[in-house]
């Protein structure tokens, strides 16, 4: 009875308490789904265990001056099996579920280096990707090629470079619903590219290019935050990603592009 209430309560809290920021990429709703499940399971477990501890402390507290001992139970094999098996099943479920989420985020796809990115490789034989690396499912559905952008991180700035149009910018401009491939490398120490509204993060490493793909889905300006300690001004190392309508993006692109002949 109590446990049923607990489970219902946990599901209710999982569904109704929102602790996350705005959803602004195709990745984020998938993430939030996982979060909801973990939050529900976590709430049930935490409230259940805390309840058991508090209940025991009150129910089984000794009266002042009482010197009796409790019951000499040293263990119970079936209980032990129960609380080994149930957490193992929960963990297995969570693991498989998060694998599925990971797959849907594009994490399990083999890393393909697109032909237009190959010139970026500059002899380094490996390139490591974050979640959503390689072409995303959305990309293949919409028959849109991913927009390649290069990111150079340094103390204490993110610099974006658009190979098409040869634009160098401190702000990341991307059109809505357009898959983006970020190829990232650091000039000095390790940095990390994080957009909370996209639910994505990838370290930017010196001497080791990394890639990150995402599809923005909501118009707005979101912070890009460096998440890896990179020196005294680490806290101030921020930039902005501007997600805009395709027309607005095109306008920005045309204003800044150096090679006009390329059609976007």
């Amino acid at each position: 009875m109590v446990s049923i209430c607990l489970i219902i309560g946990g599901i209710w809290i999982g569904n109704n308490v929102n602790l996350l920021p705005i959803v602004a990429s195709s990745n984020a709703p998938v993430y939030d789904e996982l979060f909801k499940v973990l939050f529900t399971i976590g709430t049930i477990l935490f409230v259940g265990m805390t309840g058991l501890v508090i209940y025991s402390l009150i129910k089984f507290r000794s009266k002042p001056g009482e010197l009796e001992d409790g019951i000499a139970i040293e263990g119970n094999l079936s209980l032990e099996i129960l609380w080994t098996a149930v957490p193992a099943i929960v963990i297995l479920f969570v693991g498989l579920y998060s694998y599925d989420i990971y797959d849907r985020m594009g994490g399990m796809q083999p890393l393909e280096v697109h032909h237009h990115e190959q010139h970026l490789m500059k002899g380094s034989e490996r390139i490591w990707g974050g979640i959503g690396s390689s072409s995303t499912i959305e990309a293949s559905n919409q028959f849109t090629a991913a927009l390649p952008i290069e990111l150079t991180a340094m103390q204490f700035a993110f610099i974006f470079h658009y190979p098409k149009g040869d634009i160098t910018s401190g702000e990341l401009h991307v059109p809505i619903d357009q898959p983006v491939n970020l190829t990232m490398e650091s000039k000095d120490v390790i940095h990390a590219f994080w957009v909370p509204e996209f639910r994505l993060k990838q370290d930017v490493i010196p001497g080791q290019p990394t890639i990150l793909s995402f599809t923005p889905t909501r118009i707005g300006r979101y912070p890009i935050i460096c998440a890896e300690l990179c020196g005294p001004y680490h806290g101030g190392m921020r930039a902005t990603v501007v997600v805009e309508k395709t027309e607005d993006y095109q306008q920005w692109f045309n204003q800044n592009a150096k090679l006009i002949d390329i059609e976007a």
């Binding site: 025991s56 402390l57 001992d69 994505l200 001497g207 005294p232």
Partner: protein, 550 residues
């Protein structure tokens, strides 16, 4: 097979040691003196590390970097992490309680290698002083306690090198201690005492010491290579010279993840000692508890890369480390269910020791749940390196280990000093610690989820209010040490007499005087085959013939 009772007569050696309080400043070989040396030394560093934490929380009450210079802030957070891990929690849960209790539990007069034991302790104060003094030389290390290259190579070298040397010394101390514990537990057991009759803390220390001995040398080797990169401009981890920064992370976390278990496994052991005494019930599921400790030890060694999910690890590696990490929750969960089952149906005295232990259970369950979540790659890529992680590991190391340290102090203070601590003051101490801790760290989960990275001196102004709540919690935590310190000093001189066995405990340390004599027992060591035989009214048998050699 057990061999024999330890050094038949250590007295002549020990009688050369100074008496009174002076022995705590001496190169004493008495495990009880060394245990208390670890404890007091660790607590002094805890106060220093706590002052640094307060400085961090003061800086974070406003979104601007205005309380201290930015590079000083990075030095403060590096020192805070290093001090709390290497000079407070690791030495105290291992060194202090391990040295004090293990010889009692195995029925020995002292540790297997008393001199090594003293050396292990005396490495700590100079290493700690050196670490802190580096701040006054040319600035302390400022690359975090993780010292990731290339940042640790490019920041001022003096502070970083001093940091490396002191961590090497502390790691050496830890290895000496680990070897000593393994030898003592396996080889110095009193005749007639079987492994599966040992108190649970022995098992926890055996598991922890295995981790210490296997993983600490890897950290030492890594830091030596890093120091070569800094001083001799070699290129192990320096990308400009063809080095690989990710290799450092693998090597570093190969130690530093097990380090978490080096901090919490002994705490698990201590809780397993405290709960049965105050619940008047046997420890529930002794055998499964032992297996779960060993399970945690094994799994703890193969999960390190979950600290590197955003470093660009290949997918198969992410998958493997996710599963291995999440499965640690199974043996850990077993322990928690067994503790709750120990509480169930007991006759619980609601004293400070039990309150801190139960506070530990509640806090650690939350830290464990967020830990399972963090093990999931897709979850981790959002919250990695944010305040969510800061909240998670403080729930583990403060809500877990430090709560257990306080619980243990309230539990064993009467044994070590012969005086009782004041219970009302103790319960007050628990209350403000518990409230302050949760007020400080629970809101940080939200901060991390919503976009506040860790290790920053400045942040988005939208997070100001929640950070101020967190800082208010930190203030309560800082204040909570005052009633504790008052309680300790007051009780030391004016506390009630404890008597030999105030809690009516059955483990061997209670079967001698408080404080115990240099030889631990006047006469033979008692044979305690049922350390948790509460409710059976079984009196421990005195030892008769075996082991008397002189």
């Amino acid at each position: 097979m057990t061999i024999s009772i330890p050094p038949s007569n250590p007295e002549p050696l020990k009688s050369l040691q100074p008496k009174g309080w002076m022995r705590y400043l001496s190169f004493s070989l008495d495990h009880k003196v060394i245990g208390l040396q670890y404890m007091v030394c660790g607590f002094i560093f805890y106060l220093i590390g706590g002052a640094l934490a307060s400085a961090i929380r003061i800086e974070l009450t406003s979104p601007m970097s205005d309380f201290m210079a930015r590079d000083v802030y990075n030095q403060v957070l590096t020192l805070h992490g290093t001090i709390m891990i290497f000079l407070w929690i690791v030495p105290v849960v291992n060194g202090a309680f391990g040295n004090y209790l293990i010889p009692f539990y195995v029925g020995a007069r002292d540790m297997a290698f008393p001199r090594l034991n003293a050396v292990a302790f005396w490495l700590i104060p100079p290493a700690g002083l050196m670490l802190i003094s580096s701040y006054f030389i040319n600035g302390a290390a400022q690359s975090g306690w993780t010292a990731y290259p290339p940042l640790s190579i490019t920041t001022p070298a003096a502070g970083q090198i001093i940091w490396i040397i002191s961590v090497l010394l502390l790691g050496g101390s830890s290895i000496f201690g680990g070897i000593n514990f393994i030898a003592t537990i396996l080889k110095l057991r009193r005749p007639g005492l079987k492994l599966m009759q040992l108190p649970m803390y022995c098992w926890a220390m055996l598991g922890t010491s295995i981790l210490v001995v296997l993983s600490t040398p890897v950290l030492a080797g890594t830091l030596i290579l890093l120091s070569f990169d800094i001083v001799a401009h070699t290129g192990f981890f320096n990308p400009e010279l063809g080095g690989n920064v990710i290799v450092y992370q693998h090597l570093f976390w190969f130690y530093s993840h097990p380090a978490v278990y080096i901090m919490v496994l002994p705490a698990f052991g201590l809780v397993s000692e405290i709960l049965p005494v105050h619940c008047r019930k046997p420890l529930f599921g002794y055998t499964t508890m032992v297996y779960s400790i060993m399970g945690i030890v094994f799994l703890g060694l193969i999960v390190w890369a979950h600290h590197m999910f955003t470093s660009g690890t290949p997918p198969w590696m992410r998958l493997f480390f996710t599963i291995a990490t999440a499965f640690i929750a199974v043996p850990t969960g077993i322990k928690f269910f067994n503790w709750v089952a120990t509480l169930w149906g007991g006759r619980i005295s609601l004293n400070t020791a039990i309150l801190f232990s139960c506070g530990f259970i509640v806090n650690f369950v939350l830290g464990g749940i967020t830990g399972v979540a963090l093990a999931q790659v897709p979850f981790d890529v959002h919250v990695h390196d944010t305040y969510f992680v800061v909240a998670h590991f403080h729930y583990i190391v403060y809500g877990g280990s430090v709560f257990v340290i306080f619980s243990s102090i309230y539990h064993w203070f009467p044994k070590a000093t012969g005086k009782m601590l004041n219970e009302n003051l103790g319960r007050f101490h628990f209350l403000i610690t518990f409230i302050g801790f949760n007020l400080c760290f629970a809101p940080q989960h939200w901060l991390g989820l919503n976009g506040m990275p860790r290790r920053v001196a400045e942040y988005d102004p939208q997070f100001t209010f929640v950070n101020q709540i967190s800082s208010a919690g930190a203030l309560l935590m800082a204040l909570s040490t005052l009633p504790f310190l008052w309680n300790v000093f007051h009780s030391l001189f004016k506390g009630d007499e404890a008597g030999d066995n105030p809690w009516r405990g059955l483990t061997p340390e209670w079967l001698t005087s408080s404080p115990p004599p240099v030889e631990n027992w006047n006469g033979e060591a008692p044979l305690v085959t049922e350390p948790y035989g509460y409710g059976k009214t079984k009196v421990p048998e005195p030892l008769n013939q075996i082991g008397t050699k002189d």
